[in-house]
Every structure is written in structure tokens, then in C-alpha cells.
Amino acid sequence: MKVRVLIRLRSSILDVQGSAVKRALGGLGFDDLDDLRVGKMIELEVRAASPEAARGRVDEMCRKLLANPLLEDYTVEVLPAGDLAQARAGR
């Protein structure tokens, strides 16, 4: 089962990377940006009986290790089969 975890800094936490990148894009002429935040993506391949089971398992991984609850929020998406490989191959 292919699962994607998106990890974001909580909105109250200063995103030092995001503000620096936004400023850099501004310098390159991209001044049509209102907001930019940088997060993490983790893509996993889990052995699980069902999408629900996979989601539950990955949620547990997030709580135990992948995300830092003091700083981060996360979302877990179970991907339709084949999606991850496709994504991998590029756009």
C-alpha cells in the first residue's frame, strides 16, 4: 500500500525556511506570492490488509517518530495503487 505523509510546521510556528525562500523568489521577480511554507513529504510503501489499516499504521508512525507534535501537523493519504510509482517517474 502506498501512503504519503505531508508534514507541515504548525501555523503558529515561524517558518524560517519558508520566509527565506519567499524572499528569494521575490528577488527573482516572483512578487505574486502571498505566502510560502516549506514542509516535508514522506512516501512509504506499507504492507497492510486494507487502506484503513495502512492509514492507521502510518498514523502511528507519525505519532511515534515522523512528526514532532510540538512543532508540526501532519496528514496521511493512502494513494491509489500505481500512483506513487507514477509520481516517482516525474511529472
Binding site: S12, I13, L14, V16, A20, R23, N68, L70, L71
Partner: protein, 740 residues
């Protein structure tokens, strides 16, 4: 103002960490009930962290003056004259609580805070030292903490561009629930260009510079003034995150703005943030301040004045500029792409007036905020201490294989090499580091002069636990001795006092005794304490940390080229032991590592002897007479010698004979102050002997270097005969194997 503001009551005051009596005092002082915002100001500024309520009466006992002192305690950092028009600025700070909650960001922001303390004085930071205490690294939770803390320090210091040149790391179960993260920073400034946190000149504009304000760390100061329990998780405020990149810009911008001459005073917004700056700066100058809170650059929506005043967002400064020169300030900060916003001005009346869109939300005498309550609480010696001290370690059997014992000690995490840690730190940026981590003290040259500085932190919680007064004095001596071994003459001290809750008489007794010990040692060694930090409430669910004063010592070398390191340089050198014979296994690393016991009496400390031994080694290094110098600390003379053998450029063995008449384990692993091992090239032996005779200290030749083994005899008995390879691998892997 928002209607949702809580009603001010004594219960609310208590919830914010104030006592009932303190609340009454506020009401009396103001002549009315405080507003919610005002109560917030008091709760932060009267917290232990900001007001030193429990410690101030004791801190007065420390010697704080001296002919070289340009700035003592009370400013962002202390400053000491080092000649040629230069001053060294230094201070140590703790970030224990934040690092326990979020190790990476907690430690990182600890580095950020102390760097700002240094550059607000106008000094460019040149070195960082980190003094760390953790539980047993066997525990995976502790390992995670260590990893987080070390990578946080590494990230912030490296990205900012200040080398981390030394520190210490020790492990004991008492720190498991409450690690200590202390960071010392050293900077250089022209002696006549030191800036201070003053708000002088009525009518001068007040600028806010740096990062925008968010809700980070509100009540951080209050949190640092409470103990942890199982509810710590719920109480935690938004974690502060560090931005070393912005800090670097802030450094360059501040130093550049200072050069314009348009800055009158400047202070870092650290604990209690804007509240602290807007009251302390005018309080120091006998002025007042008015600020318009809505002008403060904000990063989150809907922040209340209360939140803005108490936020501990990082990388921010408050500065007072000379009236009419606002443009110069704005221009410099704009160049570095930083916010610089005028938020108010210095006023005549000695009060802080905070407005939100012209409506007054707080009006408080700055003196009331800045002069928090002071307590002289009762102290009691812990009931079981005398019993613990009466324990005789020699009642335990002596180990049969002393060589194996030495290897065990070298592999104890507290003694073992800390390369795993310091190789993650940039140690060289600035190209000043003449002696890198791995020797007794770091040595940094002062460019543009012939001089150099030597720096080290030390503090042995076990010794202080058993005998706070002598243990704390020993910490001063050890840090100074390390500096002396490098060839530096100690010129100033900064101390970070990490203790449990001062509301417990036993803890306060430890604290008071420790202060007396520090004071006594500093007086004897002619060392002014020019700054420091008190960190109380280091306990979790009633378990306090070992009382741990961490002492930072800065020393001066007249000739940068005349410094020394601890490793043996070549075979055929003679080895001498300078200083006392008195050692003890009480509170030693040996007793802990082999028997898991924390008990016994410490060796006696003779401060006059200590002073003379340090002077002797300083003179010997300065005269170029020694090839190496290393002090004997944890693990005694056997560990010190093994370190001499394996920390030079190449391994060099030694044959050593110690006087007999005492048990082998005591002679080899006993710990005591005032002891230094040096090695001397044959050609310099005569001159060295003459110098020692002049120094009037006890000393003796104990052997010679050479070979691939460390051999030690105690009296007639061959006690140790170990291949260096085995000793080195024990020492190299002792800590690192836990972290792999």
C-alpha cells in the same frame, strides 16, 4: 482592547506564578489593582528567572570587581580589559527547560540567546562553549535528547558562523529528567566601544529590530521558574524556534549600526521579551519609556498587548537611538533586510507606558518592575549528607586488575572522548582557534595583537552534591587550572548555577554553600565574576538534578605562540607531577563507574597551593619549558596520563612510578585538586627544575615518555601495564558507541 480578557484576581496572579503576597505588593505599589496586561508584566519580570528572587541575596557574596573589569554583572554580559585597547566580553546562559521539551530548538535558541547577549555589547562573538549534562546514555530517551541538543547547537552555531571550541559533557541519572544545557559565548570589542542596555536621553526614539513577533514562548520565563511534573506537556507554550540566518544578519546590522554612532543603548529581547527590555533599560538609566504596541512587527493575527509584551520570539532587539539619527538606523537595517521600526521613545517620568492605538493598556513605574521581590529563605543541610560523606571508599575491595579498571574508566561516558559531539561543531571559523577541542582549554588568538585567550568550562555535580562549598570551589579551580595548563592567566569568571527548587531549604542550602565556595576560590585566585546565570527548578517530580555550578573561566596569554596542549609530543621526555598528593575516592568517577556509589568525602582543597601550582604551570608554559601540560580531573592521575598518551598528534607511551604507601586504586584513580602532569624535553629539564624551585610548590619527577604502553607502578607494585591501543580504543568508543 479585547473584551475576552480574564478578570484580574489573586487566583489569576497565582496561575501566572506569583504568590498572594507578591500580588498584594503589586497592588500596594500601584495603589490599585493591576490591569491584565500589567499583571502579565509583573508575572514575567518578577519570575525567578528575571528577578533572581531567591538568589540575589547570595549572589552579592561573589567578588565582582578587579582592575581589569570594565563591566561586571548587571548588563547583557561582563567585559574584561585584555590590553591593546581590546576587551573580552563573555557570559554563560542555561536553556535547560526548553531543551528538555524540544531538544533541537531548545538548545539552538539557547545558543542564539547567548550570542545576542554578546553582540548587544558591541562585541563580535569569537567562540562558543557548551556544557551539557544528561542521564545515562544507555537509555534510548537520553540518546534522543543528546542527539537533539548537539545537533541544535551545531546547527545554530555553524550557520551563524561562530566556532564552538570547547565544553564538557557529563552523565548521571539525576539529569535524566532534567538535562542541563549551558552555553558560554566569548566576544571581542574595542574597550572604549562597549555598548550597554541603557535608555538614556529623554526624547530619544526606541526601535524594535529583527524578526517579527509571534506567540512563541509566552511565559517562558515563568516556565523556567517552575518544576516539571507529569503535566509539563500541557503547560508548554508555543515552542520558540531559532533562525540563525536572521541572527547572523542581526549581528552584522547591529555592529554596523553601532559604528554609525547613532545607537545610545541596546538590549536583546530574551526572557520576558519586550516586557523585560522596556522596563530594564529605562530602570538602569533612571528614565521611563512609552511604546505603541501596535507598531511592533507581528507575525500572527490578533495578538493582544499582553502577548506581544511577553512573547519570546527569537532574534529581536530593542535599541534606543540618538534623536535625529533615525534614518541612519533604518538604512543599515534595510541593507540587511531586517525590520527596524520605531515603537516609542524615552520619557522623563520613570514609568513604562504601553499604548495600543493610543489607549493606555499599562502604566507602571519601571522601578517596580525591575526591582522584584527578594527573599532570604531558610536553608538546611540535607539530613543524610553527613552519613553519605562518612562512607569510606576504601572499605570496598580493591580491583584485582588495575589495567582493566583503567580501561573501564576511560570508557565511562563522562570521561571518554567527546569527539562524536565536537566534530559536529565548526571549531575554526574566524581562523583564531590555536587549540581545538580535545585538550584542556581552547586557545584563540586575538588578531592584531600578540595575545591569545584560553577558555574552559567545568563543574562536577557529584562533588558539589557531597560537599557544595568545597565542590563548587573545586569547580572554579578546575576551570582555572585547565586554562592555566594551556598557558593562560585566568582573568575572569562567568558562572551558571543549575539547581533544583530554591523553595526547598536543602536545595537552597546547597546553593548558598556553593556560592560561598565559588566566592572563596575566586577571591584566592584573584578572579572577578563578571556575569552569570541562575537556573533553579531543575527537577522533575521531586527529583532534583545534582547541584551543578558550571564555571567558565577566561584566561589571557601574552604571547599566543606560547601555549600548551595536553598530549605527549615525543618519546624521551621526562614527566612530572606538580602539586598536591592528597586525593580521595569519595565522589569519584571510579566509585561511580565501578560501584555505582555516590558517597565519601572529597580531598582537601588548599587554595593557596592551588594558586601557586597554577602560577607555576603558567610560568612554565610561558617560558616554553613544557612540552605538554594536563590537569588531573575525573579518573585521577591514571586517566590523565592515559589521555596524555593518546591525545597528541601520535600516540606516545610512558613509564611512571608513583610513591607507595597507599592503595593502588586510590593512588591511580583518586581525585584531588591542584594536580598537573607535565612533560619536559631533556634539554629543558634544568631550566624547568630551576623554575619549579622558585615556584615553591610540591612537585616530583614521576617518569618518562616512550614506547607503546602505559606502565604505572605504585611503590614496589607494578599496577598497570597496558597497550596504548587498548586504552585509546576504550576511550574513543566509550561515549560514541552509545550514539552510533
Amino acid at each position: 482592547m479585547t473584551g475576552a480578557e480574564p478578570k484580574v484576581t489573586v487566583d489569576l496572579a497565582r496561575a501566572l506564578g506569583l504568590t498572594g503576597e507578591e500580588y498584594d505588593r503589586i497592588v500596594k505599589r500601584l495603589g490599585r489593582e493591576p490591569s491584565y496586561t500589567e499583571l502579565g508584566l509583573f508575572s514575567a519580570l518578577w519570575s525567578e528567572h528575571c528577578a533572581y528572587k531567591h538568589s540575589r541575596v547570595f549572589l552579592r557574596r561573589l567578588p565582582q570587581t578587579g582592575p581589569r573589569v570594565l563591566q561586571g554583572p548587571g548588563e547583557n554580559a561582563g567585559a574584561v580589559d585584555i590590553g591593546d585597547g581590546w576587551a573580552v566580553v563573555f557570559k554563560i546562559e542555561s536553556h535547560n527547560h526548553p531543551s528538555f521539551i524540544e531538544p533541537f530548538q531548545g538548545a539552538a535558541t539557547g545558543v542564539g540567546g547567548i550570542l545576542r547577549d554578546i553582540f548587544t555589547m558591541g562585541a563580535r562573538p569569537i567562540a562558543i562553549l557548551d556544557s551539557l549534562r544528561f542521564g545515562d546514555p544507555d537509555d534510548p530517551k537520553t540518546r534522543k535528547l543528546i542527539e537533539g541538543v548537539v545537533s541544535g547547537i551545531s546547527w545554530y552555531g555553524n550557520c551563524f558562523g561562530c566556532p564552538t571550541v570547547g565544553g564538557e559533557m557529563a552523565f548521571a541519572p539525576e539529569y535524566a529528567g532534567n538535562p542541563l544545557v549551558n552555553v558560554l559565548c566569548v566576544g571581542l570589542v574595542r574597550a572604549d566601544e562597549i555598548f550597554r542596555a541603557r535608555a538614556a536621553g529623554v526624547g530619544n526614539p526606541v526601535f524594535y529590530v529583527g524578526n517579527k513577533t509571534g506567540r512563541d514562548g509566552i511565559h517562558g520565563a515563568t516556565m523556567a521558574s517552575a518544576t516539571f511534573d507529569e503535566h509539563a506537556e500541557e503547560r508548554r507554550p508555543t515552542v520558540q524556534v531559532g533562525d540563525p540566518f536572521t541572527e547572523k544578519l542581526l549581528l552584522e546590522a547591529c555592529l554596523e549600526a553601532m559604528r554609525t554612532g547613532a545607537i545610545v543603548g541596546i538590549q536583546d529581547m530574551g526572557a520576558a521579551g519586550l516586557a523585560c527590555c522596556t522596563s530594564e533599560m529605562p530602570a538602569r538609566s533612571g528614565t521611563g519609556m512609552e511604546v505603541e504596541i501596535s507598531r511592533v512587527p507581528q507575525r500572527e493575527w490578533g495578538m493582544t498587548p499582553y502577548e506581544i509584551l511577553l512573547s519570546e520570539s527569537q532574534e529581536r532587539m530593542l535599541l534606543v537611538a540618538a534623536r535625529g539619527r533615525e534614518e541612519e538606523i533604518r538604512r543599515v537595517f534595510a541593507k540587511w533586510e531586517l525590520d527596524a521600526v520605531q515603537i516609542g521613545q524615552v520619557t522623563e517620568a520613570d514609568e513604562l507606558v504601553v499604548r495600543e492605538r493610543d489607549e493606555v493598556v499599562a502604566r507602571v513605574p519601571v522601578a517596580a518592575l525591575a526591582d522584584g521581590p527578594r527573599y532570604e529563605k531558610p536553608t538546611t543541610e540535607p539530613a543524610d549528607l553527613a552519613g553519605l560523606r562518612a562512607f569510606d571508599p576504601l572499605s570496598l575491595a580493591e580491583p584485582r586488575d588495575l589495567g582493566a579498571t583503567l580501561a573501564t574508566l576511560l570508557g565511562a561516558p563522562t570521561i571518554a572522548s567527546k569527539e562524536w559531539t565536537f566534530r559536529q561543531y565548526d571549531q575554526q571559523v574566524g581562523i583564531n582557534t590555536l587549540v581545538l577541542p580535545g585538550s584542556d582549554a581552547a586557545v584563540l588568538r586575538v588578531k592584531g595583537t600578540r595575545r591569545a585567550l584560553a577558555v574552559k568550562t567545568d563543574g562536577n555535580g557529584r562533588q558539589v552534591f557531597l560537599d557544595p562549598r568545597r565542590g563548587a570551589a573545586m569547580a572554579v579551580c578546575e576551570a582555572a587550572r585547565n586554562v592555566s595548563c594551556a598557558g593562560g592567566r585566568p582573568i575572569g569568571v562567568t558562572d551558571c548555577l543549575n539547581f533544583g527548587s530554591p523553595e526547598r531549604p536543602e536545595i537552597l542550602w546547597q546553593f548558598a554553600e556553593a556560592i560561598d565556595g565559588i566566592a572563596e576560590a575566586c577571591r584566592h585566585l584573584d578572579l572577578p565574576v563578571v556575569g552569570g546565570n541562575v537556573s533553579f527548578y531543575n527537577e522533575t517530580s521531586g527529583q532534583a538534578v545534582l547541584p551543578t555550578p558550571v564555571i567558565g573561566v577566561v584566561g589571557l596569554l601574552e604571547d599566543a605562540a606560547r601555549h600548551s596542549t595536553q598530549g605527549f609530543k615525543a618519546a624521551g621526555h621526562r614527566v612530572a607531577l606538580l602539586g598536591g598528593e592528597a586525593v580521595s575516592l569519595g565522589g569519584s568517577e571510579y566509585l561511580w563507574t565501578l560501584h555505582r556509589r555516590l558517597a565519601g568525602a572529597l580531598a582537601p582543597l588548599d587554595l593557596e597551593l592551588e594558586r601557586r601550582v597554577q602560577a607555576a604551570v603558567q610560568n612554565a608554559v610561558e617560558a616554553g619549558l613544557v612540552a605538554s601540560a594536563h590537569d588531573c580531573a575525573e579518573g585521577g592521575i591514571a586517566v590523565a596520563l592515559a589521555e596524555c598518551c593518546v591525545t597528541g598528534r601520535q600516540r606516545v607511551g610512558a613509564q611512571i612510578a608513583l610513591p607507595g604507601g597507599i592503595r593502588g586504586d586510590l593512588a591511580l584513580f583518586g581525585e584531588g585538586p591542584s594536580r598537573i602532569v607535565v612533560s619536559v624535553e631533556p634539554a629543558r629539564v634544568r631550566a624547568f627544575e630551576a623554575l619549579m624551585a622558585e615556584s615553591a610548590i610540591p612537585w616530583r619527577w614521576i617518569g618518562a615518555t616512550g614506547g607503546e604502553r602505559l606502565r604505572m607502578a605504585v611503590g614496589e607494585a607494578d599496577a598497570i601495564d597496558a597497550p596504548l591501543e587498548r586504552l585509546e580504543s576504550a576511550w574513543r568508543s566509550g561515549f560514541e558507541r552509545h550514539m552510533a
